[in-house]
């Protein structure tokens, strides 16, 4: 038989596209190399009794439109918002953060009354930038050099949105997109620890330091989400991030879709100038009217396709697509709750994200190490204890700790990561935690250390880049992944892209998957009523 669509990779975006297409009436098969679905949104039991969200670990960016269209809550998805967090300072003090704006303001005032004043101004300005960007997430980028009516219309829409702002606001926005988060924060705040806390979202997952121009935009990328309409809020998927993938899979299968796990794709078959199916590692060929790749652009075009099947210029552009990994991850099973002397046990901060980097300079120095092909001995860690809120992930009284680490280079000193490098990296991170939580190590039952090498090997992210491609302007919007190919169509007839290599990029957001489905449905006579318009929460 020939499928209407074969989707390569059962990551969250692949499953989103698959579910939309199946609900529109297509016959859809998702093929996945691993024996489980989810890509980087997974829950795995690697130590008995503990469930790890072992790649992505928090949820906010996932688009609510998709949750509703695909009825994910009905299929078991529940997002639990979390409260606050804290930066633990070298001097034993801390800065706490709360969801409540006024509570934050009071906490800021403890460190700097002036910064507490500035916080209102800061929050208002960032929200304004967010308000402009958010509606772009769920729209296909226009081709700025095309004269097609559709592109011109989209450009005109964009232009109108820009002109809704005052001249001063436009100038501010352009400045915000191009500046570094360090400079941006300097314009509001004086307290180093407040700046360090707020800079975090600008460096997560990206090969930029807080002093790199363009890092302010990355901040926005992490602020555009919401939990139940609370913009900028973050939460845990109950049962781990795999709960999102499980709900997507259920939604897809209820609509008649087929998932085949344990079936890696060896190559995408092109004949007569169109993609006609995929050849699996087993040699089996699945025929399809369209092939949709959820893999990153480099893996899709450079690893799974023959160079002769693609335009030469296009191949060159894909080779230039930057996918350097910059992050690592520790998943830790703890025998008992960790103790942080800086605040009382049971403090609300423990339910949020904990950082140990109290100045921007320390983050930037960790980035300098990344540039030189080293992991830092003073890494930035985003440490969370999901079991403080979601008891399903560990046995009673025990805890699952997730630590996201920035930065981890794709290669160490020009060579691939070795097991010894990985262990040293894990030890550096645990050493840092131990400094702020004495006795932490003694409670460790099991640690899984993931470097870019593990991310690439297991999830298939080239060079371990968690966003399937770096988030700099030359790789965003109409430039993502390649100028001229930002509308989810590959360079070959019948070939599409739906992963985070496409607009609007990475994070467990689902927007690329939905946008790709919309584009595909535009070319067919299938029922499109299942795709509701994106709406603005703001």
């Amino acid at each position: 038989m020939s499928w209407d669509a074969v989707i390569v990779g059962a990551g969250h975006n692949g499953l989103v596209t698959a579910a939309y297409l199946a609900r529109a009436g297509m016959t859809v098969c998702v093929v996945e190399r691993n024996d489980w679905v989810g890509g980087a949104a997974v829950s795995r039991e690697l130590y008995p009794g503990f469930t790890y969200s072992n790649c992505s670990y928090v949820c906010s960016l996932f688009r609510p439109e998709i949750m509703r269209d695909l009825e994910l809550p009905r299929h078991g998805l529940q997002v639990l918002p979390y409260e606050g967090g804290a930066v633990l300072k070298e001097d034993g003090g801390y800065l706490a953060m709360f969801r409540d704006h006024d509570a934050n303001r009071r906490e800021f005032a403890r460190h700097s009354p002036r910064d507490a004043e500035a916080y209102d101004r800061y929050a208002r300005d960032v929200l304004r930038h967010c308000r402009f960007i958010r509606p772009l997430l769920m729209r296909t980028p226009p081709d700025p050099v095309s004269l097609r009516p559709r592109d011109l219309g989209e450009l005109a829409w964009l232009g109108r949105r820009v002109l809704e702002m005052s001249e001063a606001q436009i100038a501010e926005m352009v400045r915000f997109w191009t500046m570094s988060i360090a400079d941006f924060l300097d314009e509001y705040f004086e307290s180093p620890v407040i700046k360090a806390y707020l800079a975090v979202s600008a460096i997560i997952g990206t090969a930029l330091g807080p002093m790199s121009p363009g890092s302010a935009y990355v901040l926005l990328h992490h602020y555009m989400g919401d939990v139940d309409g609370n913009v900028g809020a973050w939460g845990y998927a109950r049962g781990g991030m795999g709960a999102i993938s499980a709900a997507l899979r259920a939604s897809f299968e209820v609509a008649g879709g087929t998932v085949r796990t344990g079936s890696g794709v060896r190559r995408i078959v092109v004949s007569g100038g169109r993609a006609t199916g995929v050849e699996l590692d087993s040699g089996e060929v699945l025929k399809a009217r369209r092939v949709i790749s959820g893999m990153d652009a480099r893996r899709t075009y450079l690893d799974c396709m023959a160079e002769d099947d693609l335009p030469a210029e296009f191949v060159g552009a894909v080779r230039r697509f930057r996918t350097r990994g910059s992050s690592g991850k520790l998943n830790i099973a703890l025998d008992a709750a960790p103790h942080f002397p800086a605040f009382p046990d049971g403090a609300p901060m423990l339910k949020g994200d904990l950082h140990f980097t109290d100045t921007i300079e320390r983050m930037e120095r960790a980035y300098d190490d990344w540039k030189d092909g080293r992991f830092s001995s003073d890494p930035f860690q985003d440490l969370m204890i999901p079991t403080m809120i979601d008891p399903t992930m560990a046995p009673p009284g025990k805890h699952f700790v997730s630590s996201f680490v920035q930065y981890a280079p794709p290669r160490i000193g020009g060579q691939g990561w070795t097991d010894a490098d990985r262990d040293a990296f894990g030890a550096a991170c645990l050493d840092q935690i131990e400094r702020f939580s004495p006795g932490f190590r003694d409670r460790v039952l099991h640690v899984e250390v993931r470097t870019p090498r593990e991310l690439e090997a297991e999830v298939g992210l080239t060079e371990g880049n968690i966003f399937q491609g770096e988030l700099t302007f030359d790789q965003l919007f109409f430039n993502r992944p390649v100028p001229g190919y930002a509308q989810y169509r590959g360079p070959v007839e019948g070939l599409w892209m739906c992963g985070s290599s496409t607009h609007p990029g990475g994070g467990v957001m689902g927007a690329p998957g939905r946008n790709a489905a919309v584009e595909i449905l535009r070319t067919t006579k299938h029922d499109r009523s299942g795709v509701r318009d994106a709406y603005a929460v703001l």
Binding site: E167, A168, A171, T178, L208, R319, E364, R365, D372, T472
Partner: protein, 495 residues
Amino acid sequence: MPSSDIVVIGGGANGLACAIRLARGGARVTLLEAEPEVGGGATTVEFAPGYRVSGLAHLVHGLDARLVAATDLAGQGFRATDPLPTTLPGADPLTVPAAGGGPGDWSTLMDRLGRHATRLAPLRSLPPPRLGAGNDWRALTGVGFGLARAGRADLRDLMRLILINVADVAEDELSDERLRALLAFDATLGAWAGPRSPGTLLLYLNRLALGGARAPMGGMGRLAAALRAAAEGAGVTIRTAARVTAIAVAGDRARGVTLATGETLRADHVVSALCARTTLEGLVGPAHLDTGTVRRIAAMPFHGGAAKLHIALTGAPGFGADLRHRFVLAPSVDAVERAFNPVKYGEVPDRPVAEVLVPTAHDPSLAPEGHHVLSVIAQFAPHAPKDPDAAKAAFTRAVLSVLEQAAPGLSGQIAHVETLMPADIAARYGLRGGSWHHGDLAAERMLFLRPFPEAARYRAPLPGLWLASAATHPGGGVTGTAGWNAAEALLKEAA
């Protein structure tokens, strides 16, 4: 009380260019310079007995074509060389011609970037475009047509490259590490950014728009003298050793200036070619500005990252190439990046990168016979080190060691060394933070964002006061473009 139509504060290239344009437009102009000589960063100094050198800027690069056309600089005694080729010394030296040619992929890349730069270059001599009224639509349409004619492929390329970092481009497009390093070095020369910082290719395009770099005969002081003569020829009254201490404000309008002597000059318009922050914060004062402006001024970045070294030599340095070339000492992209890393924390790099000229190779009269001087711009030097004296000593040592490696035996020829760290440049030339551009030049501080949105079109947020320094569009270098643009804007309003 003497009065004139317009008072221009500051006799650097921008102040002079502005005064010349204003005087040619029919205004009665008085230019006030605090130092005994005009020129600002364009000067020739005797840094050791018998050894002279350009005191700060050392290349004529991008001198505004309108200024050149309006003045007879050659007639006033100013000459410069042809554009200089660049040599990368080392075990395997490589020379890149001043314009066009060079190794295959280099020349392909230069053609491509040159096309982009040429299309964007006209923006340099226009006031930054803005929404609504006041644009020079004819000129802007010209720029637009130029871009439209570029064709889809070039446009797509430009839109991808516009904010990219130069290191990625170097790695993608060039195979020779030395050439990659040259691209990375030139893109970040005078900037506060390493080659891996996004937006650095845009700085390179800006550099390409300036054309070839030429060495001034007799040092940059000759250019200043020629511009002074041209200004006086155009009817500008120039007063040196006249330090302005305040801009007189009455009725929410600038009415003139007060000098250190207590003398007051009245004027219909005051143009400041000084640092925008110094002008507004120091000469006008916060009392006459609104809160938003005061906050803007406080946020202006002044991160000078370049130091200037002047070295007197008893013989010819052994760079292994024609000494009339421009020498760039930067072994790799990573070396440039590593030279930048420490200055973020106020520290000194172990191995700085540098642009070296041998001015005596063009004009032997700058030193005793047979002797030479080196004019070195070395990067990156911290603008606010914790211990300035130790930083200066360490930086000087590091630069000399890099020079010795490029020209073996050089240490034995040294008669005298002068190092100007960014703080010294600030003290001597009034460039706050030692920033060449009177405020960092970066994507977020270009066009309508320079120096800040409310002052982007040369008009300060105080009626009657205009800004004409490198702090305004299109930034620094001895070009006079900002000053000329400011004069055009003022004349347009006054008309």
